[in-house]
Structures are given as structure tokens and as C-alpha cells.
Symmetry: C3
Subunit: 400 residues, 3 copies
């Protein structure tokens, strides 16, 4: 082989080492570093209005659970296999008092307390107290059901958000659990890749002019095709970027986007409509290789729903159409079930992604050492977070 | 966290240990404790009438096998991969003498003896004798094909049952392999959970008033909703329960049900029709996470089939209908592929289940130590077992 | 058990040891003995005419890759996950210069060189050179795209074949990637079993009179039912068999078939049309449990395609029809995902299979010791191989 050939053969795919992902920041099962970090926060697990008496299966942080609402309106989130003989409570029946297993009729309230054992003497009065169906505490807020799946003694206050408080008479909250914000559509809830691929994308303003504009045609607005000047910095609850664009003659816009722990995403209006973001998203891990999005938004009473960013709903696109006009789904699911971090080459435009990962590793370390990570508070007086994201013309822009 | 909160947080699903099943009494593959125990008995593997010359795949005790009937009416049960070059005998052709592999034409009789090698000199006359396709002995009885898959020197007598002997001129035997008795229907043969979940359910009379009556509506008869007084005891071949009910004014019924080793279930008529059980079932492990049922019954010549216990065949029910009216399928498959015994809480009404498991562990230990477990006999004079199960009014009831 | 019974019970399927395959000659992933041996040769990976600008996924030797043709007609075969952030290049767009990732627009040429980074300052001019998308060299020949996936410094000359050189004005080359030659049909490309099951079948002339004639009816020509006299011997590039048949009164035919390293199969016309083989096949491992066939053939300009060997296309046959008339697909896929060599009993008619395996083990050993296996040459002057396969009447037969 002469020198010219040698040069050509450089970079061969032959003989490469094993590929792997960074397990510390991706895997969320019980006992994993990231899983224990995640379990120090509240997670949305369902849109409130779909939680009814009929039990449903939910999977979250790698755990299968049963979700239902009892006859008094209380929501229960229980370990699925009945504490008696292990039949799933998915086939249970719910009444005022709680859920009853189909097999022998043991009944549990929303906190897992066993309140009936119809096949035992005196309905189990003497033994019931010793039985507890494993359960997690839940709350309802902003149209979503929230669960806390961590150590009981570390249960924080459920965060509130200033932009969702004090609704006026012509306003309402809407909550959704669709994959639209991840490039899917309203018919799809679960996205088949690791949650971090979606969340760190929030700190990546540079894919917008490419993926969403020049590559696939304008998915948002033409101005998003302008390559921004970007600064990233830490905030009290996580981090943000400020993307500065010269929009039109004499006008300059700062687009401020937030990624807050553990998986909050606050993305200002993608059509660049001016003002503070009125919509918050949460990237909830279903397990290591699936996630789902929940969103809550403050909207006018007569709001008609979001304007689609694609010509056709994702689930109706052919494989060829997805190749021609890929969106977030293709870019992020296209990174694989869990992206191989060993194969990456981060560049200057990936600064936000690198910062976010470092900051998350720091939080994970804090949890490991017994501390409380960013954004966790036990003081109800500090429950309301301030949302400083939005599209702002320079005159009123946030100072970087 | 104050004391009230502390109390509420008890029983959290957080931080639970690993879940597991009792492998000793559930797993049936070659060389496992339960598998070796199982291999000391005969197992039904097919209904006789469907065993024809066309080879079919069967899976039993975790082993894949080929089943066929040769031109002389003999049934063969062979290891599937041809002893020559490993092509499955599923593509073989059967004639008077045996089954011939499609690839190079080696032919084997029902005992695996190689009787032709058409590509070898003199049809392999000099080498054929050294070749044996691995095989299992089979017998036919009561309309079923039975196989013995254990050590050849330990092959017991194939059990017979007194209630199936000496049929009158207006009687016949019927045999089925449907999942109806496990809550399925005639279109489904394989149930996707561990065999023990079905078998131990036979020693659990208390699920009948709940699952089959109060929970899902009357699936059998209203009298089954009466909570019974139950005694459980050992028998020569396994164990039984006697469930005593005050059926109507002045009349009391004893319902006697048997679970005999290794997986025999003798369940009296579920409509409480009086008399000795005329029907026997076998809960045959397909592998660790699937089983199938075989049944044989003595019936009148003009018998029209069993009365369905559900309004709609199981395979035609929607998921929602199965949630509304679950049956044995939902309760037992709902325990998972193999029930997590580590998560169970057995109560007084589970005494039969606990006894059955202990008795099985004892049999497994006997086999491990070289002995013969309950119900195994090598004496043809002792082949006929007596069936003492049935629905009996107190005047003629079995004494507990 | 008396002596008669004891004899009958011999050969029981009970208590057999674990079954396994010979990993050394079957498994093809990176770093495996057979995989490293395979990686010293060129492999066809696609029919040239289907390689266009739209990227497609290909899987070969257990590696997933992206295949495309740039606007200048050059073919690229790249590691699928973008060197930047890991999104698959399947969603990339191809232009004159190369393929561009959908996510942030990094662009690579067919040799993996990074030629644009639109989100980096000055389009990444200062950092681009350090980035190389892992790639493999490809060439096009005989209507096929060939890839070399081995160590760059060991890249051999792409072999040519004398029968494909110097086409006349009324001749053309045709190339296909269908499974027809493995018993499938033109609608199926990937065969779900280990590649060796197909390749070693080439050195097995004895399955022809059975599988393809007496068992399933005449799939080729009736003369193929004549049991041949066979000799096997080594050649410069692998091995061959000569199958001698007395075809008709006074005429005798030698059928010479070649299996050349690493997976070349040269099978003369199966209708026994006289003459040198004008068609070559390659049994390309997709991974350990799948392979696909590529074929190139020299044909007359007005050639209409191959005559089917089955009455019905394979993909339209019912399971029952495949049982009634099995072909190569059933015989070889019927050996399992990877045939259990531990269960085989090779006989005198399997001499070719045994020789081929031994010869391959020798080549694998040579590669392990740093040498060059059979058929690998670095001298362009030795690129053209001579094809000495065909159906020859005795007067002009090859001397064994």
C-alpha cells in the first residue's frame, strides 16, 4: 500500500472498539445513579382527565404500575401485582373505597392499605393491617397527575410555576400527553428512545436552522433559519440558552429556552411569537429506551389547539416521507435506543449539551452523597418557580 | 415529615428488594429439580385423533419434539433435528415404516431406529444400526397420546382411572386439548403462564365465590357464591379439599376436588350436579412460561359438549370485557409469566396452596434422592387409580 | 425392565448433553475467528442498480451500515451513526459531494471525510479534518457493489472471473440479490439461518436426488434423480466435486461444482444443460443467523430470466405446501438458526461437507497466524480467476 492509499484508508470502520453509552446519565431503573436522582423529584404520569375508575397500566422509570381513581376522586398508583397471590390489579374493580383484586377480592385504598379480605375470617380484620399494597403518593395539578417515587422521607414539595398561577376569567389550563413536541403526533404517546436524547435537544438551538428549516423545509417559521448567536448559562433550577437573532431590519430577538432538573423543558413559541413562555413540558422516562412527554399550558378559553409543524401527522407519513422531511422524532429516535456517547464528537455548537450533562452528573453526585439536587425544596413557601423563558425583542431582552 | 405523614408513607413501593419466583417448583427444563420430578410421570401430549401422518411440532417440558403417526398406526415422538445433518423432521414424510427426512432421506421408525440411508452404499446397511434418532416412548389411552420423557429404567406404568373403565353401550370417552378449563376457549391451546398457577388454583376453593361469582357475575351457578367451609388433606396420590356448603333448606353439599401428582386436576361439575367426577384434567407444562390443558371425560353417547361458563368465547372478548368480567385466564395469566412468590402474602384461605407446594417439594426431594414420587408405580396390577372427587349431598358425603 | 424393553428404550431423548454449534466456522461478527477470516475478502453488498442517492440500511457480517450513491456516481458505505451526535445517516440527504446528516447538517464524502459543519464557525474549517465518519472501501463490478471490511493494509485485489470477461455484442451481465438460489424467490432477500448451511450444501451433491427429486417431485430435471458417483478434491481457491452420472444410453455426464473461499458458490445449470457455468453466487453473511445470496451471470442480450424450479413462488406457498414439497429453504433453514453440529452424524456421502469445514478451519488458522488465506491476492495481474465448473459429457469431462 503506497502513501496515497494509506491516506484513503484512514478512518476505516474496521477494528473499532466497543460502542457504549454513558449509563450514569441515561439509565433510570431503581438503584441506578440516574434513577435515584430522578426519584427525588415529582413526575407527571398521566393527564388527569383520563384517570378514571377503570384501572390502567402505566410504566415509568422502568416500573410497571396500576393507575386508577377511586369513587371519592382520589388517584391511586400501586404496584401491579396484588399483595395476596400476585394477580395484576389491572383486572381489579374500583369503588368508593379503593381497588379490589379479581382473584380473591382483597381490596386496597389509594395508599395501599388493605381494607377487605372477603375469604378470610371476619374479612381479615385481624390480619389486614399487616398487609400493604406497595404504593406511591400522587397529587394533581395543572391538569396532570404527579407521582413521587422516591424515598418517603425525602418527598419534596410539588413545584408550581408562576406562569400557571392566577388565571384570568378568559383563561384556562390545558394538559396533554402526546408526542407532538418530540416530532410525533397526538395519536402516539411513547417515543422509543432514551429520554435524555429529547431533553438535551432543548439546549441545542443549532439543530433548528438545520433540521427544522434548511433540511426538511420550514417546519416552524423562516426566521428560525437564521443561524443564532448563542450563550448558555446556569440558572437556579438548571440552565438556559439565549439565542440572539437579527430578525428583520433594526429588530433583534432573544430566544430564551430552559432545561430544568430533572427533565423540565420550557421552549418558547416556535413561531417566535413574542412574550414569556406559557407552556411547560416534562420529558418523563418510561424506561431506559422509551420516554413520553407531558405538557401543560395556559391558554385563552377559546384556544383551538396547537398549529401542526408538519404537513401530515407523523403517524400517517411513509418511511420515505420521513426520510425526505425528518423532524425531531427521526433525529432523536435515529440516535438509537440509547445514543452511543462513545462515538460522538461534540463541537462548539454542542456547548449546551455538554454543560447540561456535566450539571446533571453533579446533581447525581449530590444525591449519591445524601444531598438534595437542584430544584428540590421541602418548603411550601418556595413551591412557585419563576419561568424566565420566552421570545423577547432586544428592547426588552433578558441580559445574558 | 410529621407522624401523620410518616404513617401515610409506610408501604412505599420505593426501595423494594428484587422480586423472584420459587424456581424449585416451577421450572421444568431438563435437569431442573421440578423438571426431573415431572419426567418420572407420563404426560398427555396430544389428542389421539389429531395425530396423523403429517408431522407436527409439539413443545413439552421445554423440549421441542416432532409428533406423527406411521402407516401402521404407531405414534412417534422424536427429537426434531434429523440425526444426520440436523434438518427438522417437520418437513419429513411418513409411510408405513416411519418418518423420512427431506434433505437426504434418512428414515427412522417410531423408536428412532434408522431404517434407511438412501445416499449411502447399500442404503447404509453397515452403519445404520449405530444411528438412533432420539425418541420418547408413547402410549395411547382415553383418546390421548401419552409420552414418558424420563430415564428409561424408571418408566412407570401408565395410570388408568376407575371412572373411565368399563364403559356401557351408551357411553363414550371424549378427549380435548383446549384451554376452556383455564378460562380460555376451544380456539386456544397454549396458556402463557407457568403451569403451577393453574394447578395450585385447583386447591383454592375460595376464588370461586369471588372471581367466578361476585366479581364477574355468576360464571358457574349462584350456589358457588356461598362461602364454603373447607378442609384440606393428603391422599395417596396427592391431596384434596372438601368444601362444605349449606346449599338450600336442609341440604348440605360436600364438593371434593383433587390435585394429584404431578399435575392431575379432578374438578367436579362446576354446576354442582351431584355425583362422582367423570372428567379428569392434566396441566401439562409446555415450558416454564406456558402450559396447556388436556382433559378426558366419560360422557353419554349423545353428549353435545360442555356448557360455556362465559357469555362470549374468550378469544372474542375485548380487553375491556376481560377487565369487566375476568375469569381464570385473567386471574392466573395475570399473575405474570411466573408468579413472584417473593411478593405473596398467603392467608388462611390459601392453606391448600401452601400444602400442595410443600407436598410437591417433598416429592422433588424424593426424586433427587433416587426414590419414586407419589403416584408412580411399576406394577401393572396397580395401574388403576380410584377417583374420589365429586359433588356429594351430606347424606352420602365423604367423611373429612 | 426386561432385556427386550431395555433394547427398546435405547436411544432415549432423555438425559442428552447440551447441544451446540461449531462457533469457529459459523459466527462472523467483528473479532471472531470466522469474522476476521471473512474480513480478508471482498463481499457483494448490493446490486449496483438499486444503489441510488436515497440512503439505505444494509447489514453485513453483523455490522449495520448505510449505503448510498453520491451525485458524482460514487458509492459510499458508512457507519450509520453520524460522527457528530449519533443520528443515523439513514435520514441523511445526498448531493454531489456526499451525505449530510439531518440533525445538524454535518456532511461526509464516500470516504467518510467531513466536508461541512454548517453550525460551526467558518463551517468547521479548523476542526473538520479531525473528523472521519467510519467507512469501508467499495468497488463496482459485474453489476454488484463490493465492499472490503477488513484491515486496510490487507486489502486484496477484487477478484474477476474469466467467464465474465470479454462479453460479446449479444451478451450482457445480470446481477441479482434474490433468495431464489436458496429455495426462496425474488420477493425475499434475507434467509433466516447461518450462511454456512447454504454454502456447505454446495459440496453436497447427494441431497439433489432426494430433496429435489424423489422427495418433493422433480424440481430440476429427472436425470438429477440418478444417484451419482462423486469425487471431491481441493482446488487452488477452495474445493470442488465431480458428480458422475450415466444419463442415457451410452452417455455419461460429469457435473463439476465449486465452493471457493470465502463463500463463492459456482453451481452448473441445474437442468444439466451442457457447458461451463456462466453464473456465480456468493453466500454473504448478514449476521450469525441470516444470510443473503448475490448472483452474477453472463447471459444473452435477449435473456428472459431463470426458469422457476417450483410450481409456485416460495412466498406464496402455504406451510402445508412447504411440508409437502420442501426445497433448499426448508432443508437449510430447517437446520435451525445455526445448525447444532454436536448432534450431527456425518456419513460417507457427507465427505464434501467435512472436507470443506476442515479446509475452512485451516484458512481461519492461517489468518489467525497473520497469513493470507486461499484466494486472497494483492497482485492485480492475478485478479482473474478461472471457472472450471459445468456440466460436461464424458468425452470432454474434467479428469478427476
Amino acid at each position: 500500500m503506497d502513501q496515497a492509499e494509506k491516506r484513503i484508508s484512514e478512518g476505516s470502520a474496521y477494528g473499532r472498539g466497543p460502542q457504549h453509552w454513558d449509563r450514569e446519565i441515561t439509565e433510570v431503573g431503581p438503584g441506578t445513579p440516574c434513577g435515584e436522582f430522578m426519584r427525588r423529584y415529582w413526575h407527571p404520569v398521566a393527564v388527569s382527565e383520563i384517570v378514571v375508575s377503570r384501572p390502567q397500566n402505566v410504566r415509568i422509570l422502568g416500573e410497571d404500575l396500576i393507575l386508577f381513581r377511586d369513587g371519592k376522586g382520589r388517584v391511586g398508583l400501586l404496584y401491579p401485582r396484588c399483595a395476596h397471590r400476585g394477580t395484576t390489579l389491572y383486572y381489579g374493580k374500583v369503588d368508593e373505597a379503593g381497588i379490589r383484586c379479581c382473584y380473591h377480592g382483597w381490596q386496597f385504598d389509594v395508599q395501599g392499605k388493605c381494607i377487605d379480605m372477603p375469604c378470610e375470617p371476619d374479612n381479615g380484620a385481624r390480619v389486614r393491617e399487616k398487609i400493604r399494597q406497595p404504593w406511591y403518593p400522587v397529587e394533581e395539578l395543572y391538569g396532570l397527575v404527579w407521582a413521587y417515587m422516591g424515598p418517603p422521607e425525602k418527598k419534596p414539595v410539588l413545584p408550581r410555576w408562576d406562569v400557571f398561577e392566577n388565571l384570568g376569567p378568559n383563561e384556562k389550563m390545558v394538559a396533554t400527553g402526546s408526542s407532538t413536541g418530540a416530532g410525533g403526533d397526538d395519536t402516539v404517546e411513547i417515543v422509543p428512545c432514551n429520554w435524555l436524547q429529547d431533553w438535551e435537544n432543548i439546549m441545542d438551538p443549532f439543530h433548528i436552522p438545520i433540521l427544522h428549516t434548511s433540511f426538511s423545509g420550514v417546519q416552524f417559521v423562516p426566521e428560525m433559519g437564521i443561524m443564532p448567536d448563542v450563550t448558555w448559562d446556569h440558572t437556579e433550577l438548571g440552565m438556559r440558552y439565549i439565542a440572539h437573532r437579527k430578525i428583520e431590519e433594526g429588530r433583534e430577538m432573544d430566544r430564551v429556552t430552559l432545561a430544568l432538573f430533572p427533565h423540565v423543558r420550557i421552549v418558547p413559541d416556535v413561531r417566535l411569537i413574542e412574550g414569556t413562555a406559557q407552556r411547560i413540558g416534562w420529558v418523563v422516562p418510561v424506561d431506559d429506551t422509551h420516554f413520553r412527554l407531558f405538557h401543560a399550558a395556559r391558554v385563552p378559553l377559546d384556544w383551538k389547539g396547537r398549529v401542526p409543524t408538519r404537513e401530515k401527522p407523523w403517524s400517517e407519513m411513509s418511511e420515505q416521507e420521513r426520510q425526505d422531511k425528518p423532524g425531531d422524532w427521526e433525529a432523536q429516535v435515529g440516535q438509537g435506543p440509547i445514543s452511543f456517547h462513545s462515538e460522538e464528537h461534540l463541537a462548539s455548537s454542542d456547548k449546551g449539551v455538554a454543560m447540561l450533562r456535566r450539571l446533571m452528573k453533579k446533581q447525581i453526585q449530590i444525591v449519591r452523597e445524601g444531598g438534595d439536587p437542584m430544584g428540590v425544596t421541602f418548603d411550601p413557601a418556595k413551591a412557585v418557580n419563576k419561568v424566565e423563558a420566552g421570545n423577547f425583542y432586544r428592547s426588552d431582552a433578558v441580559t445574558a
